[in-house]
């Protein structure tokens, strides 16, 4: 996935959320946000279509003392994408738009791609350490 300006906007969105969380929690000897939900937003089509909503967790600690005191933390992200079911109530897929679609894929057909093995559910996960 090439890093375009818009993909950086999606990354910055998570960075801002993480920084807001750390700002509220730092100072504790150890801390965790627990798993929380956020999203990439539609600034970048790749991130938006592949991920959008996902879970993240920040766990950290305060190390050192006096002038050397600092906060270190891990950020973990997780998302399981599934192709859905017909009864789930998701919208059909239209391109370029619903009112004048060149392509219209019914949700039942979309879900069937997974049922017959042509599309697979997938997991996205990753982690990064800040500090040290």
């Amino acid at each position: 996935m090439p890093a375009s300006r818009s993909s950086w906007r999606s990354a910055i969105r998570l960075q801002q959320q993480v920084e807001a969380d750390v700002k509220r929690l730092k100072g504790n000897a150890t801390f965790t946000t627990g798993w929380r939900t956020t999203r990439t937003g539609n600034g970048d089509a790749n991130w938006f279509l592949a991920l959008n909503g996902f879970q993240y967790r920040v766990t950290g600690s305060t190390v050192g003392s006096g002038a050397d005191k600092k906060t270190e933390y891990w950020v973990q992200v997780y998302k399981r994408y599934n192709w859905g079911t017909d009864s789930e109530g998701r919208d059909d897929v239209y391109w370029p738009r619903k009112s004048l679609p060149a392509i219209h894929v019914r949700q039942a057909d979309w879900a069937r791609l997974n049922t017959v093995g042509l599309a697979r559910d997938y997991d996205t996960s990753g982690s990064a350490f800040f500090g040290g």
């Binding site: 969105r13 509220r24 946000t33 998701r90 919208d91």
Partner: protein, 160 residues
């Protein structure tokens, strides 16, 4: 021959007009509802989004704004003003099971939406929130903030 040229001009003119119209129709149209934020999915009405996400607006809701984005998931952001006394009824009628909590951390889904829509959530120090309340396959988060007097601001963000 003299009669053919005007006909050609008319046909060329029609082709050009047709091409312009076709080009215009392929560009993304805004959501026609003035309450929709720019970039909200053009074909999803507020009523449909409320229904899809199990949200019931209070009768006195004012200042309603919303946005729907459709990607790997469909997200729905909503804000409105209401009398604080109607909030418990709003939560009940929207089948929100979680309880409002004052916490160091506010619901991250709503905070993310707030940065997109300039909700200025940091200006409500007494805000209370509900993180990740689930209704079937819909994941919803709520923030309630006092907005002066008996008025409250409600911020909702949902994914499904």
């Amino acid at each position: 021959m003299g009669a053919v040229r005007p006909m050609v001009r008319v046909l060329v003119g029609l082709c050009v007009a047709g091409a312009i119209l076709a080009g215009c129709s392929l560009t993304e149209q805004p959501n026609p509802d003035p309450r929709a934020y720019p970039g909200s999915a053009p074909d999803v009405t507020l009523e449909k989004a409320l229904n899809d996400n199990g949200i019931k607006l209070p009768e006195d809701a004012g200042g309603v704004r919303f946005a729907v984005e459709i990607g790997a998931d469909e997200s729905f952001d909503l804000t409105f003003d209401t009398e604080c006394g109607t909030v418990p009824q709003f939560l009940k009628e929207s089948s929100i099971k979680g309880s409002l909590e004052s916490s160091v951390l506010l619901p991250s889904l709503v905070e993310t939406a707030g940065r997109e829509h300039d909700w200025k959530l940091e200006s409500y120090p007494g805000a209370r929130g509900i993180e990740d309340d689930r209704l079937g396959s819909v994941n919803r988060s709520v923030i309630i903030a006092k907005a002066g007097g008996t008025s409250c601001k409600v911020f909702v963000s949902a994914l499904r």
